[in-house]
Symmetry: C2
Subunit: 433 residues, 2 copies
């Protein structure tokens, strides 16, 4: 075998393998939300902050700050490429062309991320992103995937070439066993939702290609806009908690605060329509959300379930539909919280034929190397890292969710919100990832 | 990533990936036996023949005859390289330098394999090698590893690039799980004996490197002389059934035939000494062999167990040693029949401290891809392919072994040999590989 001199020299000398290679390398819903924000709330100042919920993993001790800054700086140097903008403008999303307006695409062409603030405290990084909401919002996914990939690289750096080979062989074997269990199951609809906590960009790309090649129609797409663009797949995802969180933070009265979750939906359906009308009911608790939801919300396509025990949440939604005279079989539920194969199969078995449903499979799809380390180290166990909106227009942003452990915001404000929204249907469920 | 133009062009155009890349790519014991034959029986005409004991696998339908001939022809074009001959002459084997005589090395320098005969019958290949024993004997391993690797390649050719990646990932994960189970077990001694039925040369090389890197002193070497040479490992192996088989065939009287198994040992200890004095007692049944063995055989280093239930065979040998006043703890047993991890651990647990012992791990080390196929095909399940001496000086060569199913030779001659040697201790044990 002739030595590949150019590759070998390059491997030793290239500047960096960037964790984020394109501004499209984000969840597609961030782009839908960005246009929404750009239309309705262009000037609201918003701060996002990174939180490591796995406190025992001391990220600031583990990772190299200089390298983290280099990776973050690189994303600030990125611009949307012309080919990417043409794709956003010309491609169909959820069966509809022209979802992104020409003025928004033009605005995106000039888009640059704002500066970040990075400090160390108690072995953790404090990483915050300030700016107008339109500027800061995209940092969320880039920040998360960079920190996760740097963690991966540190752990990879402690392994020999041989161990690396075995490690990835085990990871692939594990992935394949998962895919095999899902193959050929009628009516299954699974999407990749694993960008933010992925092992690495290249691994996520491999995983998505594996799913696309092997699951046929059961694989419905990826939340990653760059991978959807690069591999001609469906981009999946609609909206997230940050919208009702910011709208609630901006509210001046308790009444406005409670109704902010519905006002957001009203604005959303004015902006988008049809299949994009997917509600995320758990920001302040699903039970209170459904009880007080305006009648027009029953006309929406469906809901995404993110923090309640998923079967219970699905039953609750279906009962609600029936009580309001709608047929659950016309609606779609997207499960998206802490999924793995067993849970997907369990939920599919329970709900097949009763309601349309799909699965947004995240961390345990794109970052499950548990038990793959050749020396048994836990270096690759995924951690619960989130990046949440913390402030909007100087006021704290709060999420309650259906799980006490997943509430975010200053404790006093969480308590105030709980008093306002109630805690009906909220439970304590251990957070895996 | 810049396309590697030279590699890509080469991948499309190169002549062949040879299954056998060197005349050293054989079991080391073939070379020890070759020198033995060269010294004592240079002119005996001997025929080797390939037998597929897995009749349901129709090799001649599966494999391409032209490609098989091309691979066989290539080995005939090979010569021992100077560096290889220098290694044979200068390296220590079993702790001893100069095992191979200068005249033998000189003879090897001019060595070329004789022609082969290849025909098709009933979906099987009839592949025979005629010539003087010194010429034909080396064909055994080359022939076996070529047929096995061509079978591998046919099956690989039915898979997509993606499936190949998963297939090898699973194979590596499987190998690693085996290695992990063996790691750190005190007193374990394992060698690679998997040349003849390997998945491919490159895979065997990978497997041996994995064992060498991870098992420390528990990995004692490889039977493959080329891999031992290339990676500076111990070459392992002493002698095989062909020696007593040919000597028995040459016998003119029943008495000579029975004593041929001991005459061979006598010649062997005159040729080699010390650690190379390992008996293979099962050619005509272990029980009769031990019962009638001359006293000096108790002085030998140990035995290799190849066809009897291994624990029973070991106990039988140890009882025999004790009965003859020898201490089993000074002796070594090499287990070499159909081993896999479970069996290795079981035998090690049973015999540790009672006798020195080692494991010659073959097919299920270098060709275990069972359940690795991404579509569940059994294409890679190893088959029971052997290449045996069939005739010597025009007389049929016979092996009985401790397992009725492993007897080789024409039925009438097998019956005659059975009448002569008896069947004490012979059993029916299913042959895995």
């Amino acid at each position: 075998m002739i030595v590949n001199f150019s590759q070998r020299a390059h491997n030793h000398n290239f500047e960096a393998d960037w964790a984020v290679r394109s501004l499209l390398d984000t969840d597609f819903y961030k782009l839908l939300m960005l246009q929404f924000i750009w239309k309705h709330f262009p000037d609201v100042p918003v701060t996002f902050g990174l939180i490591n919920r796995s406190r025992t993993v001391r990220l600031a001790d583990e990772l190299d700050e200089t390298e983290l800054r280099r990776q973050l700086d690189h994303v600030r140097d990125l611009r949307f490429r012309r080919s990417e903008l043409i794709w956003l403008a010309g491609n169909s999303f959820y069966g509809k062309r022209g979802i992104f307006e020409p003025e928004f695409i033009e605005w995106l062409a000039g888009f640059q991320l704002p500066a970040y603030r990075l400090e160390r405290r108690d072995g953790q990084f404090e990483l915050c992103f300030d700016g107008s909401w339109t500027q800061s919002t995209l940092w969320e996914i880039y920040g998360l995937s960079i920190v996760n990939e740097l963690r991966t690289r540190k752990a990879l750096g402690r392994m020999s070439e041989f161990e690396l080979d075995i490690f990835y062989a085990r990871g692939k074997a594990k992935l394949w066993d998962k895919i095999e269990r899902l193959r050929g199951i009628p009516g299954l609809a699974v999407a990749d939702f694993g960008t933010r906590r992925r092992h690495s960009f290249l691994w996520q790309e491999f995983v998505v290609q594996a799913m696309a090649a092997e699951l046929g129609n059961s694989f419905i797409g990826t939340s990653n806009a760059y991978i959807a663009f690069k591999h001609d797949l469906e981009a999946i995802g609609t909206n997230a908690h940050e919208l009702p969180m910011v709208l609630a933070a901006l509210a001046d009265t308790d009444e406005q605060r409670v109704s902010a979750q519905y006002r957001m939906l009203e604005l959303w359906q004015r902006t988008y329509g049809g299949a994009l009308l997917v509600m995320l009911p758990d920001t302040y608790g699903t039970t209170q959300f459904l009880a007080n939801a305006p009648d027009w919300t029953t006309g929406w396509t469906g809901i995404r379930i993110d923090s309640k025990e998923p079967a219970a949440a699905a039953e609750e939604y279906m009962d609600w539909l029936v009580a309001r005279g709608a047929d659950p079989r016309d609606k779609r539920i997207l499960f998206s919280d802490g999924l793995d194969v067993g849970e997907i199969l369990r939920l599919h078995g329970r709900f097949a034929g009763r309601v349309k449903h799909g699965f947004g499979w995240g961390t345990l799809l794109t970052n499950d190397f548990r038990d793959c380390h050749p020396r048994g180290a836990a270096d690759f166990d995924p951690i619960s890292l989130v990046c949440k909106v913390q402030e909007a227009a100087g006021r704290p942003a709060v999420k309650l969710s259906d799980n006490y452990l997943k509430a975010t915001g200053p404790a006093a404000d969480v308590a105030q919100y709980r008093a306002l929204f109630g805690t009906a249907g909220v439970a304590n469920v251990p957070v895996v990832v």
